[in-house]
Amino acid sequence: MDTTLALVLILAPLFGFLLNIFFGKQLGKTLSGAIGTFTVIVSFAVTLYFFLNITETNQAIQVKLFDWIAISDFKVDFGFLLDHLSLLWLMFVTGIGALIHLYSISYMHDDENMHKFFAYLNLFVFFMISLVIGSNLLIMFIGWEGVGLCSYLLIGFWYKNQDFNDAAKKAFIMNRIGDLGLLVGIFIVGFVFKTIDFAELKTIVLAGTMNNEMWITIAAIALFIGAAGKSAQIPLYTWLPDAMAGPTPVSALIHAATMVTAGIFMITRLYFLFDLAPLVQDAIAIIGAITSLVAATIALVQTDIKKVLAYSTVSQLGLMFLALGMGAYEIAVFHVITHAFFKACLFLGSGSVIHALHNEQDMRKMGGLRKAMPITFITMLLSSLAISGIFPLAGFWSKDEILMTAFHGNPVLWVIGSLASIFTAFYMFRLMFLTFFNDFRGTEEQKKHLHESPALITFPLIVLAILATVGGLISLPGNSWLNHYLAPFFPNKEHIAHALGQTEYILMAIATVGALVGIGVAYAKYMKQNQVPGADATFTGISKVLYNKYYVDEIYDAIFVKPINALSNFFRDFVEVGLSAFVFGFGKVANELSFQGKKLQTGSIGFYLFIFVIGFCAIISYLFIEL
């Protein structure tokens, strides 16, 4: 029964993919979208069943289908693990997934390849589910690379534009750099522990009999490189902003709510390993904090609405890694969930805006949209308040917990995280003011057609905005449902009581004041003074550096891409030619030496073969006579 249901859970979106890829065109747009959405709803329903089940029984379910790869040191089952962590993850993956599919029915309706879009989106959900419920590292890796494939397909969905294709390619290759790290991590784990099964690993590690500090540290580094690639952390983050080339629902689903959290999922899955590598944990916290600040500063000056949100995502992911590095896994998970709500809402909202403006993404050409698009405006406003950490919205609770943990761990990290949060409040309200307030700055033609989006688009927005508002309820300080729920997953961790002392209240107050300051500055600048960022060329000084993203892309280009291509040219034009000439040189020398034999060289291969056979016979007969 459980096996069958687990198969339904994972295969439903695959079925949707197959239907849409083979028959999508004949099905027609509406049906194609409906099938795509329905299959994800099926997965969600099954997830809900398992989820309700586990809250009662507290029993994880293991499903084993067959032996997959034969490796001498460890077994690789094709199996699934439905435990507290994976089911929690599936809840928002399939839940938000279903909402975004629904949204896409309307959003993609004018696209001639809508059925392909739904096919890819379904395929993504399939791989994302595999990633989450894989019972060992390699099944997780199928999903891990599979979502990368779908990300590639969807970023480059409008494949006639080679810039988009470049972005897709870049995303895939940068992810692959991380994937090599992940692979090496898997090798080490398998080699040291003789298993890559999550449940077995946990048992072995928690039993404490394995004391291989060096290998565990190297494994943790390698695994973190994998996480950094998928979850866009320094130095592998530059693909995510480019990934915004994909249709907006893709940005919401893959590049905000689900796929990019895979790194956090993996580290939480293997928390017991990371706990044994404190140095790596420190590095994760530091990298997370720096990423959150760097990305937030870049977001301050971006003019493309989706780019702002993209850097915001990188920044928020950084905060999650900060929590992971502090060993506060359940807090990172908490922020993953609240972030999924408000960031998905923000992306979908921006999609609604882009849709209304006929594919305009430049905020300098927006403004005053709140009257025409009240639902989009209000839902985005709620999400903006949530991400800025305003009481009592979801982001307030999760971000505060991260900052509090940071404060107790290392005040410097707390300062960095707090700065990033203040910047977040600023750039989010800069976005809101530029988009929704003051006068419209677009063309007259656009102005005439300004409209609120249809219900298929606003409904997901409303649901997500509600979740972004009240989502904090799942983990209130002192009475955290989430911690209670996850307790069986962290058997070695004492239940952390979130008792609030004086320090905590002060920290909360500081964070709130910081967020209000951020919003206030944005208000003064973009609302009161009605400023609008100038043309690209007018950026100077620091803002020019920020606008150009610290020139990191250019630096990578100069350090990696160009040299490799130059080397390739060198190999092609010189080494290959030289080697070839060298081999022929041997031939020429032989030619000179066999000057006499030259007459025999008739150039007929038949003759050569004849000589070959004769020579062969000669050798045989030599043996024959000799022995």
Binding site: W68, I69, A70, I142, N165, F172, V184, S568, I605
Partner: protein, 478 residues
């Protein structure tokens, strides 16, 4: 019933094709290709049921050369590769007009015969004869039915021929030396020889020259790209899909177990050479203008990794190498066929002259894309199974080997996605590009089917090859 049935069918098929005349040749050849596949599967089922299919027949009494064939799991894996690819390759040429069709198709089957013989022979000299025999049909196929300027083609092909022949002569010398010690060419007898470390080194190197040219390993690869480019696609497929694997197979079957001490002593050097090929091949592939040359260098990179796997001298290395030989064989044939499909329509192999095909030929674009992702070892494809196993085998030797060899997953993605982007994507091509025909689609779908099936369920294959590889490993560690 023994394994020689397969060889007989292929040889009879070659003769029948030749006699069938130009009109019928392709169909007769396809028929015999399919029969040989059926026969392979039938024999495999007998083998799995525990039947011994080996054959030993006296042939020449002095020196003692016997016609002996050994059908173990390893040989069957290679026969499967040969058996599945032969009809696919024949079918792939149905869209081309072939002059002198009876010779062309007869040569394909003859080559399949010689390669099957190479995989089966367990007498050194018989093996050598099959090994060289396989060279003859491919020589003519490349020379006569190849493309481009005839003089240039001749230069490339003759170079290839002489080069591989020269390499093989070292192997022949080694066999003769071994015979002088053992009094027999039989594999078992050669395995049981008690050779000194010095002798082993020389034998090892002599084999190495033959295999390094065939596989090819850098810097012995210079024949490859030009021949791949000049040969007709069928020839390129035979070479890259099956013939290269003769070299890799022979490393496991002959080189390592006969000279195990040398193999162990110098394993790091040879693993290093394989990995150097991975990196070098991948980097050269990046800036190739000709699609067939790009695929040739990608092949160089892939076989380099496989070779490194074999020289890792552990079970995972052998197992991964054999699986990857098969996986690479299927994928590379599919990719060369994709290049051929483009060539049939656009009359070019220059990547910059392609582009914008996806809009016009969505089915072809999807199939090509699956092959691209298989070749960069996306999990759930057969290639991932092989590559993962090989990399883990390298990891067991040294973590850095796994990391350096693992660069293939980054560099491979770079050049293959670049190829796909510039050949298939972008603004719609101004030239008309018809989607795949039925026979083209059939070829592609068969290959993709095999790749996906074994990607999810490689167990039948691993169960097949593991016992024989363990035996060989036991021999190496004796």
């Amino acid at each position: 019933m023994d394994i020689s049935l397969l060889l007989i069918i292929l040889l009879v098929g070659a003769i029948a094709t030749f006699l069938a005349g130009d009109k019928m040749a392709s169909k007769v050849a396809l028929f015999f290709g399919l029969v040989s596949l059926g026969c392979t599967l039938y024999l495999l089922s007998l083998f799995n049921a525990g039947q011994n299919l080996d054959l030993t027949m006296a042939w020449i009494t002095k020196p003692v050369i016997s016609f002996s064939l050994k059908a173990d799991g390893l040989a069957f894996a290679m026969l499967l590769l040969n058996g599945i690819l032969t009809p696919i390759i024949i079918l792939s040429s149905f869209g081309n007009e072939v002059k002198n069709a009876k010779n062309f198709y007869a040569l394909i089957l003859f080559m399949s015969f010689a390669m099957a013989g190479t995989f089966l022979a367990s007498d050194g000299l018989l093996y050598y004869i099959f090994w060289e025999l396989a060279l003859i049909p491919i020589y003519f196929i490349a020379l006569i039915w190849g493309n481009g300027d005839a003089e240039e083609r001749k230069k490339a092909v003759v170079k290839f021929f002489i080069y591989t022949l020269a390499g093989s002569l070292f192997m022949l010398t080694a066999f003769i030396y071994l015979y002088s010690k053992a009094g027999s060419f039989q594999l078992e007898a050669l395995y049981n020889l008690d050779l000194s470390a010095d002798e082993q080194l020389w034998i090892f190197l002599a084999f190495f020259f033959a295999y390094a040219v065939k596989i090819p390993l850098i810097p012995f690869h210079t024949w490859q790209a030009n021949v791949y480019q000049k040969a007709p696609t069928v020839g390129t497929m035979l070479l890259s899909g099956i013939m290269l694997k003769m070299g890799l197979y022979s490393v496991i079957r002959w080189q390592l177990p006969i000279a195990p001490m040398a193999a162990k002593e110098y394993m790091n050097i040879f693993i290093g050479l394989g990995i150097a090929g991975v990196i070098y091949g991948s980097i050269v592939a990046l800036r190739q203008r000709d699609i067939k040359k790009l695929l040739a260098y990608s092949s160089l990179a892939h076989v380099g990794l496989i070779a490194a796997g074999t020289y890792a001298l552990n079970l995972d290395g052998f197992r991964g190498a054999v699986l990857q030989m098969m996986a690479h064989g299927f994928v590379v044939v599919g990719l060369f066929f994709a290049a051929e499909i483009i060539y049939r329509r656009l009359d070019t192999r220059i990547i910059s002259e392609m582009g914008g095909i996806r809009t016009q030929a969505p089915a072809f674009a999807s199939m090509f894309m699956i092959l691209v992702f298989a070749s960069i070892s996306l999990p759930s494809t057969f290639n991932f199974i092989g590559e993962f196993t090989v990399l883990y085998a390298l990891f067991q030797v040294d973590m850095w080997f796994a990391i350096l060899g693992g660069l293939t997953i980054i560099l491979g993605a770079y050049y293959m996605l670049k190829l796909y982007q510039h050949s298939m994507l972008g603004e719609t091509n101004t030239k008309i590009f018809k989607d795949v025909t039925f026979s083209e689609g059939l070829v592609m779908v068969s290959i993709i089917g095999v790749i996906m099936f074994f990607g999810f369920y490689p167990k039948p294959l691993t169960d097949l090859i593991t016992p024989s590889l363990e035996t060989i490993l036991l021999q190496i560690n004796r």
